[in-house]
């Protein structure tokens, strides 16, 4: 059951990723990008990583893509003005680059292969509440990088508000 679900979701995710590239209206691209994000989130849920799945939806599908949509609506983009037939050089370059990426990612693919087959291998990963696990790791093992990252993000939030305030005064 879980395997079937995995393949269905994987097909949906990959197909929407393909549509992101090949459709010509920017809004449709954004829509399929959102679908790809949601597809990825469902795959995370299959791996019992609910927290990451929800963050994926809240941050990427919910916030980042809204900004994309906002910009596209603001600029009122219709069709992208790309050459209809891509040049062969560009094709060749793209193929070589993506192959290089696959080669580089191969060790990663290999290491997660057992998970792809349906069940998470690590027993307590599925049993323990995912949230507790992540929280414990973040606040013990990875405390410093986590704090630095969160501090940067907080500074960015406050920074935007300050910049916005300055602009309205002048």
């Amino acid at each position: 059951m879980e395997t079937i679900l995995f393949y269905v979701l994987a097909v949906v995710t990959l197909l929407s990723a393909v549509f992101v590239i090949f459709l010509r209206r920017p809004i449709h691209n954004v829509l399929f990008m959102i679908l790809t994000m949601i597809g990825l989130a469902t795959l995370f849920i299959l791996l019992h990583a609910e927290f990451i799945a929800m963050v994926q939806i809240i941050v990427y599908a919910g916030a980042v893509m809204v900004l994309f949509l906002f910009v596209i609506m603001l600029l009122n983009l219709e069709e992208i003005d790309l050459p209809r037939e891509p040049r062969p050089l560009r094709w060749g370059f793209g193929v070589i680059l993506s192959l290089a990426l696959v080669v580089m990612l191969f060790p990663v693919f290999k290491s997660i292969a057992p998970i792809i087959n349906g069940v998470a291998q690590n027993g307590d990963l599925a049993a323990a509440s995912n949230l507790d696990l992540i929280a414990k790791e973040l606040f013990t093992t990875y405390l410093l990088p986590f704090e630095i990252a969160s501090f940067l993000l907080l500074a960015a939030i406050i920074g935007t508000v300050v910049i916005g305030r300055k602009l309205t005064k002048s």
Partner: protein
Amino acid sequence: MNEPEQSIILLYLILVGVLLTAAGLIWLERRLLGLWQDRYGPNRAGRFGSLQVAADMIKIFTKEDWIPPFADKPVFVIAPAIIVITTLLSFAVIPFAPEIEIVNLNIGLLFFLAMSSLSVYSVALAGWASNNKYSLLGGLRAAAQMLGYEVFMGLSLAGVIMLAGSFNLREIVEAQRNVWFFIPQFPGFVIFVIAGLAETRRIPFDLPEAENELIAGFHTEYSGMKFGMFFVGEYMGVTLISALIATLFFGGWMGPLLPPLCWMIIKTFIFICGFILVRASLPRLRYDQLLSFGWKLMLPLALLNVVVTGAIILAAS
């Protein structure tokens, strides 16, 4: 009765309950608005206008379901469905009583935030797909508004999560056995209510549809049941936010004497009436006021609330 059957029956009961409430609110809101604004409200169809909902339904279903030829058809059709889907999905995690809940998720609150962040697309896409400049303006406003208000909606709940030590809505209710969270988390409660008002796009935050400047904003081109979905979606949103306020800040199903479900329903209805009272009494904000109010006042307040709550919890432990 075994488990899956029971949960499926429960699912249908909650679905029907939510839809009936949303439909009933169409009548309730107009009657209450009439009462508070010293005018009549619906009083012709049935006793006290109680058949108004039926009349509205007949009208909505029999109207021509027109799709403008200049619209982007698939997106135009999907947009109203998104709001109904995301709002109904959010109801899945709300515990109406100790036994009455569709799923008991560890990440319940995050699930609600995820769904509410997805519901933005409904309005933004509707505005864009209509291919009409007023709709587009409405959609743009909606996107900017929801983006700004979502940020501190999440932050306003951080205090509750810290106090309860869980994202699980049932555990959050259990944690309120001694004291309801609106007392220790009063700023969080106020901020959440304001964010909730903005999230459901009701007056004073209904800039996306602002009928005196944008015709009807994002749903100008919509008619028939597609309009009905936005209409009912808004009332479902109000019900959802009210139920969440009751769950997160007012002890959910807890209360003396009456059975838990009754308490949950009573609390939810009190907040729904509060939403209607706000609509009856406040004017609409200007758009720049709305955005600067969100980013410059509510966001810092929400951050401050997180810091103070964290400090108090740290000091107390």
